[in-house]
Structure formats: structure tokens, C-alpha cells
Point group: C2
Chain length 211, copies 2
């Protein structure tokens, strides 16, 4: 995934010549806490946040050029950069948004922290049953019932708690990948559990074929 | 994971009686775009953002009580709520932070969008090779070399591109779970590929055992 695929093209931008008061209204109306400062060709010159604005208003400054942070002090990405750089920057530098530039250094979008949350969380919201469906489809000759039966056995082996196949099925239909990872104690463990289920059904399938 | 495990306990808070100018300085100095408004017992009364502050400063308002949004209009969580509610709220309502309350309705922390990015992205940064290590550990009697060999075969079957086992190994040591999901086109597909690898090594293992 590239930065341009994660960015929001619907962003505000301001000129260094705009007044701080005008920009504050623009930011309030659009509910944006940050804005790139650009020239007439949309080239990035700097960055302002609503915290720069409150300071500017309080100190009776006039123009954006008086309060903006210059380009060399801010973080930005180019459109073909991997979007995980946005994730890493946001997380490490505690940013709420990052401008995305094209090859002419013009601003073409902004990646905001909640856009990242939105993208990342879509993965977490995948139902565990979808992974079982992928497993069923992949393992030809293994039925859904066999998968549930094997999962109940593996689950009991791991947790020590007895669970019926139909209860297991209800659980995975209701729970998400994110919940399952937290419940099992990490991606590797969750994944090892699924492999154990796969191993058991395959062993049984091979056993059947031999008879 | 509960809300209290994801929240940042290092947060600012203000009183309805504070002046807007004082709060703006507090927010600028701490680089916080939002703040809960609380009473003397830290009970949540409302919420202000730096956009409320810019408007208040421009309109020459005086106290926080004149500009804050009241509690019944804002989103908050209780400490034992699942943290995925914070993820869903942030993503759906495009919030940059959410206060977390204890059972007395007192504010005990704030979940910020970049904290969520930080938590979610740690999963994405898991190296794919870690999943293979989990698979190797789970599938007793299967060697790492057999796993790499099987992966190269499955990869070639899926992509049509020939790849050597040692190149595959280098790839999974360098690539993250997040990259792998994006590259394969989703969690289910990525997972189906791993199951296919598991199936192949198990079939070979069973074949060996039979001889």
C-alpha cells in the first residue's frame, strides 16, 4: 500500500499571506487541526496546527507566514512512499497528520491519524470465522464440521476447558481477529493454534484416505 | 485489552473556571489538541479542543465554561470497556482523543489516535518469519528447510513466478505481517497461503512416515 492510497484528498490548505484569523475560521469550519501552507502551485512551504493558531491569536500576530513551521522542520511523504512510513511516523512522532507530495513537491493529500486507525482496524475487525472459511476452502476434502470438531479439541488441549464444537463455532462467528489475538496472547500464538487445527484435520484426512 | 490498558495517564485537564487564554498556553506547552473539562473531583463535565479555543479567542470569550462542549455531547469510555470501542469510535467519528472514566465518572486517562496507531501497528510490524517459527514449533518433525521449500512451491503455484527457497527465506525475514497482507490481498488470502504451506509439509511428513 502506498501513501497515495491511504491519504485523504479532501484537505484544507492555506497561503503564507492568509491572516491567522481567516485560517482559524477555515480550520474550525472544516474541523481540521492542521493545514499545509502552500504556494500558488500547491508546493509545500510549511505547516500550521491549531496550537500555532491559538498562540498567534493570543500574541496578536497577523499572517500565517509569521507562525508557520517551515518545510525543513516538518514530516512529509511522497505519494509512492510505503504507507507504513506514515504509520511509523505517526506512532513515533505522535503526529495527527502528515502531508503527501507528488514528484513536483506539490501537496496532493494528507494522511490523518484516524485514517490510519481506520485502515489498520479494518484488519482487526475481520471475523475469525472468515479465516476458518479460508482454511476450509484451502483444505479440499475437509468439512466445516471437521474443522469445528478439531478446533474444539485443540482449544481444550490449550486452555484445559472443555468446549463443544457448536459452541466453538458460535464463538468464532462472533469474535474478531483483533479479539482473538488479544485473547490468545499475540499473533504468533493465535496463528500456532490455527496451524494445530490444520494439522489435526489433515492427519485425520490422511488417516481416512489410508483406510 | 481494556480501555485502561490503552489509555495515556499523562494527560492535561482544565476547569470550567479557567480562562481560555490560560488553557491555550497549557495546550500549546503540552502539545495537546484536546482536554477534558473536570470538576474538583476530576469528574468529567465537558471537553474542549484547540478549535474551540481559537474560536473563543477570536470572539473574545473569557472562560472555558463559555466554549466547552457538555458531557452529554461527547464520546467517552469507561476503564473496563474493550479498547476496540476506542478504535471504532476514533475511526467512525474521526476523533483525535477520547477520555476514559472510572466507576465514579472521574477522568483517569485519555486514549489518543496515535496511541491507537501505536498499538495497532505493533501487530503489523511482526516479521513474517516469526509466524514461520511458530509453525515450525507447532509442526513437530518438520524442519525449517522443509517449510521454506514448501513455501517456495506454494508461492510459485500462486504467483506463477519461480522463487528459490533461500530467496523466500530472505523475503520473510525482511517483510512484515502488514506488508505481507497488503501484498497477498488481505488477511484471508495471506492465511490461506500459510495453510497451503502447512498442508504441503504435513502431507510430505505423513508420506515419509508411511515409507
Amino acid at each position: 500500500m502506498k501513501a497515495k492510497e491511504m491519504m485523504d484528498k479532501d484537505f484544507i490548505y492555506v497561503s503564507p499571506e492568509d491572516t491567522i484569523a481567516d485560517v482559524s475560521i477555515k480550520m474550525e469550519d472544516s474541523r481540521r487541526f492542521t493545514s499545509p501552507v502552500v504556494d500558488n502551485e500547491m508546493k509545500l512551504l510549511g505547516w500550521v496546527t491549531s496550537l500555532d493558531i491559538t498562540k498567534g491569536l493570543r500574541e496578536k500576530k497577523n499572517k500565517i507566514s509569521e507562525i508557520m513551521r517551515p518545510k525543513d522542520e516538518i514530516r512529509y511523504l511522497h505519494e509512492n512512499d510505503p504507507s507504513r512510513l506514515a504509520v511509523i511516523e505517526t506512532s513515533n512522532s505522535k503526529l495527527i497528520s502528515i502531508p503527501v507530495l507528488d514528484s513536483n513537491e506539490a501537496v496532493i493529500g494528507v494522511i490523518r491519524s484516524f485514517d490510519i486507525v481506520d485502515t489498520l482496524s479494518s484488519l482487526y475487525e475481520v471475523k475469525v470465522s472468515k479465516l476458518y472459511e479460508a482454511m476450509e476452502k484451502q483444505l479440499k476434502g475437509v468439512t466445516w464440521e471437521e474443522l469445528m470438531e478439531a478446533s474444539a479439541i485443540i482449544s481444550q488441549r490449550t486452555t484445559g476447558k472443555r468446549i463443544k464444537a457448536e459452541d466453538y463455532e458460535r464463538n468464532i462467528k462472533n469474535s474478531t481477529f483483533g479479539e482473538a489475538i488479544w485473547a490468545t496472547g499475540g499473533l504468533e500464538r493465535f496463528f500456532a493454534g490455527l496451524i494445530a487445527v490444520g494439522e489435526l484435520v489433515i492427519a485425520r484426512k490422511v488417516g481416512r484416505a489410508r483406510k
